[in-house]
Structures are given as C-alpha cells and as structure tokens.
C-alpha cells in the first residue's frame, strides 16, 4: 500500500549511488574511495527531497544544519547559497559530508527512510563543500566586532575547531593550542587518507585560520603550559584534547612485537605517512596475515589500511555477530568488497609469540549470542571448549580508548569520571570549574567526529554567554 502511494505522488525512491573506485583498484592505493557526486547526480538526488513542511532531518543533526534549505539551493542550482547555508552552523562540511554517520542521524530521520530511500544528505553536503573548494571562492561569514575577550582552545580536532570557528565569528580572540605537529586531531592521525583526504583537513584548518584564529602546534597544554597558566592570560579555556590511551583486551601476549593498538597503527600510517616509508622516516610493518580485533569504524579503517599495505589476508575478529557491528554499514561494505575476512562471534583469549618475542598465533573462542545486555545488544557468551588457534604475524587491537590523561592529570579541581573523562554539563559543556569547558572524546571517551563538533557548538554558545555577561 505504501509503495502504491509513493507511485501516485511520483516520489523518486532511487537513491543515487556514490561513484567509487573499484575494489581491485583501490586496494592498491591510499586515494579516496568515494569519488563524490557529479553535478547532475547531485541535482537529481536533491530533487528527490520532499521539502517537508516540518522537516525531521535537521532535528537528527547534532549541529542543526538547515538541511532542506541547502538541498533546495542545490535544486535551484545555487550552490554558493547552499554552502553558505551549511556554514552557518557547520565549519567542517567537507569532513562531515564524508565521515558523519548520517544513517544514524539526519538520514535516519528523513521521512523517506521508511521507504529505505532516505535522501543522501551526507553526499549532498560533501558535494557542496567540494564544489566550493573547486571553485576556489571560499565563503567567509561576517565577523562580529571585536569583544576584547580571549579564549584558549586545547586541541585542533573537530571539537576545538568548531569552538574556535563559532567564537571567532562572534568577535572573540581565539587561540588554539595543538599538541601534535599537525592540526586536525583524529581527522589527521586516525581517519585514513582513503576515507578523508588530508588535503581536505588542511583546507578546513586554513579556513578557520582565515577567520582570524591563531594556532600554535607542538604545544602540549598540561605539559608545556597548564590550563591554570593559560587562564592567567585567557578569559575562558575549552578543552578538546581528545582520545587517550588505547584499551587492550588484557589477555596474555598483548605486548608482543607485532601487536599494535589501532591508535599506533593508524598514527604511523596517517599522521606520520608510514605507508610512504622510506620517503618518510616513520616505518610501518607490512605483514602478510593481519588480525584486527574490534568492530567499529576504527577497526574497519585498520583492516582496510592493512589491505592497502599489501597483506595477503586480513581478518576482522569480532565477538558479536554482523548485526551488532558498531561500524557504519558503508564501511563494513567497503571492507568486505576489499576482501577483509570477517571472523564473527570470535573472541581472542591469548596471543602467542615466537622465540624472538614476535606474534605468531592467536588463540580464540567461538561465541554465541545470549540475552540482550546493558547496551541493548545480545550478549556474546563463549562456547566452552571451542578454542582454536589461527596464525597471524600482526594483530591490531581496535576496541576503543580512554580520554587523554594529560589535562585531567594537571588541572586540579576539574571533576573526572570513572573512565578518566572530564565531567561536563551536557547542556553547556561546562566543567566543574567556572571558566573551563570541555567536549569531544576528552568527555566521551571514543565517540564520533560529529558528536565532538556538536559538543563544540554547545560549549561555544555557553562560553559566548559567559564572556558577554562578564564586565
């Protein structure tokens, strides 16, 4: 019946596919997999939008983009108006268009998702951002008159960049302190080139600089200078210091050579360009049999990186079933197309080394699914006596990480939760200290780029309110 109705109204349910590099091409390079919509496809896809009177899609967006608005601009062929509309609330459209989990957010809320054909909002966002970059005419919003207030932002990742963007537009003087030698945080060290080209991150960072944000790299707040020291100079501090130490499974053998945290593995390849060793000095091993443990986007990124580094066999080892994989469906599909073998319902229990301390084998248990647990997912239960051993010469552990410890360790009076994250008021991003705000992975542990940006947006509004109420 519903399909009939759709027919009547002539709703176009053919969600336009994204052109991609073919799997056999892309496993041999680190270039971007998804190639972006050509103009005609973007307009066709935009035309599918019903322009709902009471749109639900923008309610699904953590930064509240006027989604029907920018889609209408695409239909009208007014791309510059479209990108301007997005940039009113989102400083990083080229990035969000690529790495946001739209299927969980805006696209999930789209009325057409009932018909399994939601508008490809992310692809359209990316289209506008890429169109603007190709045109070379970057829209810069109007900047409010100087307020004379100074804000320090710790970390040039998605949370920090968003805060800096919002506050500089409101007329405040913003300085970002970045610990690494490049800006972007997880966008630079974590997400691989083939999913988010680094040139795009550089472009977005340059854009924020062009608004007047000052950035110091190689400056480790908490070590080079403490937050309290910054507060002698700045009226407010936003902490977006991001992810910290990787979690391990706490099973025997995790410190063997050839066992990597996903943070290490991806940082070697992405930030340090290990895939171009010896042109770049930082090496990365190119083992032939790789196991990646975990089921999130970071696990997919690690597995697909291993494929590109020339592994003969890459296994993704996950203790639940395919339905519970936390990674985006699109990334799972990409990994499958690239030949990653999914060892589902499998739990590593021991890593076995050779006589020189290098990983040789992994002992695993088969699992079965029981009743739903606290997370609402069916709990994996080991099948007794099902132990088996698989040979591997590298294991990448991608099961998450804790928040970065440096600021919590060096900022007295800031309340910390059990997992080591900074406690904030979710409505304002305020910490237990009056002039310190925080957001992103330093609060959440390991979450998404867009949730960090959402935190940044909320904190920026609260910081602005605080600064303007001060004499």
């Amino acid at each position: 019946m519903s399909e009939e109705k759709a027919e009547k109204k002539k709703i176009d349910l053919a969600r336009r596919p994204m052109p991609k590099q073919t799997p056999w091409e892309r496993i041999k390079n680190f270039d971007e997999v998804a190639l972006g919509y050509p103009v005609e496809t973007a307009v066709e896809e935009a035309r599918r939008c019903l322009q709902c009177k009471k749109p639900l899609c923008n309610q699904g967006c953590p930064v509240g983009i006027d989604i029907p608005g920018f889609i209408r601009s695409i239909v009208e062929g007014n791309f510059s108006a479209g990108i301007k509309k997005i940039k009113e609330t989102n400083a990083l459209p080229a990035i969000c268009g690529r790495v946001c989990p739209q299927e969980e957010q805006c696209e999930k809320a789209c009325v057409l998702s009932n018909k399994k054909a939601p508008i490809a909002i992310g692809r359209l966002e990316r289209f506008l951002a890429d169109w603007e970059a190709a045109e070379g005419k970057i829209e810069v919003p109007d900047i409010a008159p100087k307020t004379g207030k100074k804000v320090a932002v710790v970390g040039a990742g998605p949370a920090g960049i968003t805060v800096a963007n919002d506050l500089v537009i409101l007329g405040h003087e913003v300085t970002i302190f970045e610990a690494l030698h490049e800006c972007g945080g997880v966008l630079i060290y974590g997400i691989p080139e083939f999913r988010l080209p680094k040139a795009i991150v550089h472009r977005e960072v340059e854009y924020v600089k062009s608004l007047g944000v000052k950035i110091y790299t190689d400056f480790i707040v908490g070590k080079t200078r403490t937050v309290d020291r910054l507060l002698e100079e700045f009226d407010a501090v936003f902490v977006g210091s991001g992810a910290g130490l990787p979690w391990f499974m706490e099973i025997p053998g995790e410190n063997l050579n050839g066992v990597y945290s996903a943070n290490e593995y991806l940082t070697r390849v992405n930030l340090m360009k290990g895939f171009r060793f010896p042109e770049y000095d930082t090496p990365v091993k190119r083992p032939s049999r790789v196991a990646v443990v975990g089921g999130g986007n970071v696990a997919m990124d690690s597995a697909r990186t291993a494929v590109r580094l020339g592994a003969d066999e890459v296994h993704l080892v996950y203790r639940r079933s395919k339905a519970e994989l936390p990674a985006r469906a699109e990334e799972v599909e990409n990994a499958e197309e690239e030949g990653v073998i999914f060892d589902l319902l499998t739990l590593p229990v021991r890593l076995i080394g050779d006589e020189n301390g290098w990983i040789k084998e992994m002992e695993c248990l088969r699992m079965e699914l029981g009743e739903p647990d606290a997370s609402g997912r069916r709990k994996p239960i080991p099948v007794e006596g099902s132990n088996f051993i698989i040979p591997f010469d590298a294991v990448v552990i991608a099961i998450g990480n804790s928040p970065n410890p440096l600021i919590p360790m060096t900022t007295p009076g800031v309340e910390i939760n059990k997992k080591g994250g900074i406690v904030t008021d979710p409505k304002t991003g305020r910490t237990s200290r009056p002039n310190i705000w925080a957001g992103g992975d330093i609060v959440r542990g390991s979450a998404t780029v867009i949730s960090a940006m959402g935190d940044g947006r909320i904190a920026a509004a609260s910081i602005h309110e605080y600064l303007m109420s001060k004499p």
């Binding site: 063997l256 990597y260 945290s261 290490e264 440096l406």
Partner: protein, 277 residues
C-alpha cells in the same frame, strides 16, 4: 620552527644539542623528555632532557646517532631550524630528600642524569655520581658532575679512567667507600639500566630507571611505549618514563625496543651506498 643554538659531537657518536624553545625551557623538570622532528618527513624522536636555561629559553639534550632520524639531527648546524620541539613530556623524576642517592649515567644518560643529580643535591641529598663508559674518551660533563655531587666515580671497561670493569662492580666500589644508598637512579641505554636493576635487586637498593621505549606522539595517545611493570601494562610517556627497575619485564622491553631495528638503519644504508647506483 625551532632554532638550533648548538649541535656538536661531544664524544664519538654522542651529540650535545641545544634548541631555542622558551615555552619548553620554562616548564621542564629533571626526568622529562621532548619530542623532536628533524624535518618535515622526519620521525617524532623522543630525547631525554639534559639541561636548560630559562633565561635564554634554551633546552639541551644529548643524543646518540643510531638510525636515520638521529643521523638527520646530527647534521644540523647552529642557526638551522627544526619543525618540532615539543615538551616537556613524561612525569618528572620525583625529587625529595632521600638521604644518600646514587646517580648512574651511561651513554646519553650521563646527560639526562645530570639535572637529576643537581636537583637531588639542591634537595639536600648526599649525591654520588657514577659515570660509566667503555673508555675514558666516551665520558663527558665531568666538571658539571663535580659541582653537583659529593663524589664522582668512574667505571670504564678498559680501565682508562676510574675503576676497570662494568656495572657489576658498583656494589664493590660502594662498599669500598662505605656507601649504602637509599636510592639508585639510572639513566642510559636499556642494557645498562637492566644490568643495574639486576645488580641492585639482591641488595635491596631501590632503583629507579628512566625508560626509553619507541614512541610516536609521546602524549598518551598511541600506546606504542607500553611496558610491563609489576605485571601491569604501563605507558612510559604518561605513567613514566621513571619506573622501578626491579619491577620491569626486561626481556619484553628489550624485544619491543628492537622491533624496528631493520627500518631504523635502512635509511643509513640507502644514504651511504650510493655507489650501487
């Protein structure tokens, strides 16, 4: 960019390296390290800090030329600049009045133990410095140690200065002078720190070592610097680099330390064998 104030070979293969980095100089403490990148293509190399001058805003390290990245550092001249000099990183060495402290330095660790000895002396300790090398020509900064120690002992493998022998002679040497330390702190190559920990364990001399694992970010993110201490995994960049030498799994640490040896020397082989082409 950070300006090189000084870079000179102080003894064969060891370089004294002073960089203008006022913000680092302002906060650095004994036991800290910095992360250095020699050029835009370079690795992030952790170097222990050996000295600093808050007024001039400079920080000094001693490094050994081992692989490609340290070879790049060794080619720098005063006035050159490097893209990264970040720090201070790691927890500082705990400085208290322990009573009698033995400060053992070898290799680049002679440099990094120096500010530790100085701070311990200022804190009222009786400080004995033990500087160890294969031969007298590999020793340096003797005058500095003379100023901050109650006595400086030398141990050389060939006997060209001080006692002939190696780390294992330390207990003998100390008993000869009636010294029973309340604490031993060792900085140097992995092998030296492991040896001193093995030597002091049966004597019950608490021994702190300044660990030097492979690192990338150095800020508590990547996890490559992990080691087992008392059966638990610790991260040298944020939990250390100082640890109790008697609690470290040395075999595991040595293996991890060597995991990139082939890649480390690969650039040297490439740059020195041009004749092949």
């Amino acid at each position: 960019m950070y300006k090189i104030v000084e870079r000179r070979m102080i003894v064969p293969n060891l370089h004294e390296f002073t960089v203008e980095a006022p913000a680092v100089a302002e906060s650095v403490k004994p036991g800290n390290f910095v992360i250095v990148r020699p050029d835009a293509l370079g690795e992030r190399v952790p170097l222990s800090v050996a000295d600093w001058d808050t007024k001039l805003g400079t920080v000094t390290s001693i490094f050994m030329q081992v692989g490609g990245s340290t070879a790049k550092l060794a080619r720098l001249k005063p006035g050159d600049t490097i893209p990264t000099f970040a720090g201070p990183l790691g927890r500082e060495t705990t400085i208290e009045n322990y009573g009698t402290v033995l400060c053992l330095g070898g290799c680049y660790g002679i440099g990094s133990i120096y500010p530790v000895a100085r701070a311990l002396k200022d804190a009222g300790n009786r400080v004995y410095a033990v500087l160890e090398a294969r031969s007298s020509y590999l020793l340096y900064w003797e005058d500095r140690f003379a100023r901050v120690s109650d006595r400086v002992f030398y141990i050389t493998r060939d006997g060209t200065k001080g006692k002939k022998g190696h780390i294992a002679q330390i207990p003998d040497l100390m008993s000869q002078f009636g010294i029973v330390p309340n604490l031993v702190i060792a900085n140097g190559c992995t092998f030296q720190m492991m040896r001193i920990s093995m030597v002091t364990k049966p004597l019950g001399w608490k021994t702190i070592v300044n660990m030097n694992p492979i690192m990338i970010d150095g800020t508590g993110m990547c996890g490559v610097c992990r080691l087992s201490v008392a059966g638990k995994t610790k991260f040298a960049c944020v939990d250390g680099p100082d640890f109790d030498g008697h609690e470290i799994d040395w075999q595991e640490f040595l293996a991890r330390r060597k995991s990139y040896n082939p890649e480390e020397v690969d650039p040297l082989r490439r740059s020195s064998c041009q004749s092949r082409f």
